[in-house]
């Protein structure tokens, strides 16, 4: 792994010089005003506890909880403020799930100190009762903003949103769940009601940004990255909302060479990311926040390289 920069002025002054030949960043802001945040993310781990078996198949030897835990540990040792999220489909895919119903998956995620996760369609594979049973092993919250669990055993147990405060940065997290009808047998999801993911994501994102003073809003989504038809996806979600900064997706098992950047309804940038599946990849997003009393970002203004 290459050396990651520690402070904004190092990387920015580099880009800065390419763009113009003006003042160093520190002339505008000090280190005290820059706060780093690292977000790690996984999706569709699908009970891949051990690495893929060495049987000549495409993914042989990749993934595995032991390795993932080490990678997370390494980032935490290096970076100051780290949050760890999962975008659903924790369950199903190896005999670990068939034998133990998701218990070891939840225990391992707790051990790795996941901060939050959303639910994927396969997290219903043991039935809503099965998920409820395994939740006792999960010492982290689940968010889904668009499922109504009122008439189910999960009533009151799944959050609509969650707020994390890290080193003066307030991060709001919402969740977007996929339509369950035709994807999951009704006997498994029971009376879970699927609500419009875009309307509900926007509702809670706006609440977090405007009323709860969140600096950054992350949506853990299991809608899928994009489709050939009009099926609602992360791209729709990004383009048709106003207050989401980052969408961490799942469901389509998408490996990205680089994250997708879209414009939201206000014209602001939204990052759409997904980290493949089965724990083959760990997504890492490093953000620097600049604190000032102006209504613009000074370091951005002075280092715009486009």
């Amino acid at each position: 792994m290459s050396t990651r920069r520690k402070f904004i002025h190092q990387s920015i002054s580099g880009s800065f010089l390419m763009a113009t030949s003006s003042f160093p960043l520190t002339a505008f802001i000090g280190d005290d005003n820059i706060t780093p945040l690292t977000i790690l993310h996984t999706n569709d781990v699908h009970s891949r506890i051990d690495p893929f078996p060495m049987d000549g198949s495409r993914n042989q030897g990749l993934g595995g909880a032991e390795r993932r835990a080490q990678m997370i540990k390494d980032v935490r040792a290096k970076e100051k403020n780290v949050l760890l999220f999962d975008s659903g489909d924790i369950f199903q895919g190896t005999p670990y799930f068939n034998f133990f119903g998701g218990e070891i998956e939840m225990k391992l995620m707790t051990q790795m100190k996941y901060d939050c996760a959303t639910m994927g369609n396969h997290d219903f594979d043991g039935g809503i009762d099965g998920f409820n049973k395994q939740m006792v092993h999960a010492d982290f919250p689940f968010v889904v903003s668009n499922y109504d669990f009122r008439n189910t055993i999960l009533n009151g147990k799944i959050e609509k949103y969650k707020i994390f405060e890290v080193d003066e940065i307030k991060i709001g997290v919402i969740g977007a769940g996929i339509e369950l009808n035709s994807l999951v047998p009704e006997s498994l999801y029971k009376e879970t009601q699927y609500l419009d993911p875009i309307a509900n994501a926007q509702k809670y994102a706006a609440l977090l940004k405007n009323e709860m003073d969140c600096d950054y809003v992350v949506c853990l989504s299991h809608l899928g990255y994009k489709y050939n038809d009009n099926k609602v996806s992360d791209i729709h979600l990004a383009q048709n909302t106003e207050d989401i900064d980052l969408i961490l997706g799942g469901h389509t098992h998408t490996f990205m060479r680089k994250a997708d950047i879209r414009r939201n309804k206000k014209g602001n940038e939204v990052i759409v990311s997904q980290a493949g599946w089965a724990g083959i990849l760990l997504g890492q997003i490093n953000i620097h926040f600049e604190k000032n009393k102006k209504n613009v970002c000074l370091s951005c203004k002075n280092t715009l390289i486009k």
Partner: protein, 248 residues
């Protein structure tokens, strides 16, 4: 180590009053790090958590069921994996049903690994190929419903299907639909073996929902394991039929 890295400079101007302090996003940098052999695992803590679970199932998962003559690859149209899987489902549908079954199918998304390598097949392969608690059911349907099934498969860009059914995809519709080499007749009766997931309306098969099911009561992965054990007991090798079922 593969590492995809991008550097983004975002200007998300959250306009605020001049008095309050605001946090602005100065820059964002995204990488995807691969969990491969380069990761230096320094602690046994995680493995110690997994071991008791692994030990309980290891012996059973390592049971050898036979030898795959070729590498199976998953695909929507006449793939080796799809052909092999559905042909086996047809054999087993006939084993469980007291009336002859004409063809079998499997939804593409239900096959969960991209390939099975040539060589020894273990129970673990079958569990990972078909992990769902889907049962094998047999439906008695008319020709009109066969056409709808074929249309649905065509609309999905193809699906794994056994010998016994064939058709051509033209503009997302199925034409020349044949069962056992004969054009289907709308009022004739046909029998199909398939996962209850599809029979219950999964994968846009809403039109199958009301049809009575003959439920074998056995999970598809158990059916597949039984199929391989039957072959083994009879001293027969695993075979993969490459016959094209869907033309496009």
């Amino acid at each position: 180590m593969f590492k995809y890295r991008i550097l983004l400079f975002l200007m998300i101007g959250l306009l605020s009053s001049c008095i309050s302090t605001k946090q602005h996003i100065a820059d964002t940098d995204i990488t995807y790090v691969r969990a491969n052999e380069d990761v230096n695992v320094g602690s046994k803590a995680i493995d110690d958590m997994i071991s008791p679970y692994r030990d309980q199932m290891e012996d059973e998962m390592n049971i050898e069921l036979g030898e795959m003559p070729v590498t199976l690859k998953k695909g929507k149209l006449n793939s080796s994996m799809g052909n092999w899987f559905c042909d086996a489902l047809l054999v087993m549908s006939n084993k469980y049903s007291d009336k002859p079954v004409d063809f079998a199918l499997q939804n593409y998304g239900g096959l969960r690994i991209p390939s099975i390598s040539k060589g020894i097949v273990t129970k673990r392969h079958i569990f990972e190929l078909m992990p769902f608690d889907n049962k094998l059911v047999v439906l008695e349907i008319d020709g009109k419903t066969v056409q709808m099934m074929a249309d649905n498969m065509a609309d999905h860009g193809g699906a794994p299907v056994s010998l016994g059914l064939s058709f051509t995809i033209e503009e997302d519709k199925a034409i020349d639909v044949m069962v056992n080499g004969k054009p289907i007749k709308s009022n004739s009766t046909y029998r199909v073996g398939l996962p209850d997931y599809v029979a219950n309306g999964g994968d846009d098969s809403w039109f199958l929902k009301e049809i009575p099911q003959f439920d074998t009561g056995v999970y598809i992965r158990e059916v597949m394991i039984e199929y391989l054990m039957d072959l083994k007991a009879a001293g027969k090798p695993i075979t993969v039929d490459k016959t094209k079922r869907i033309t496009s």
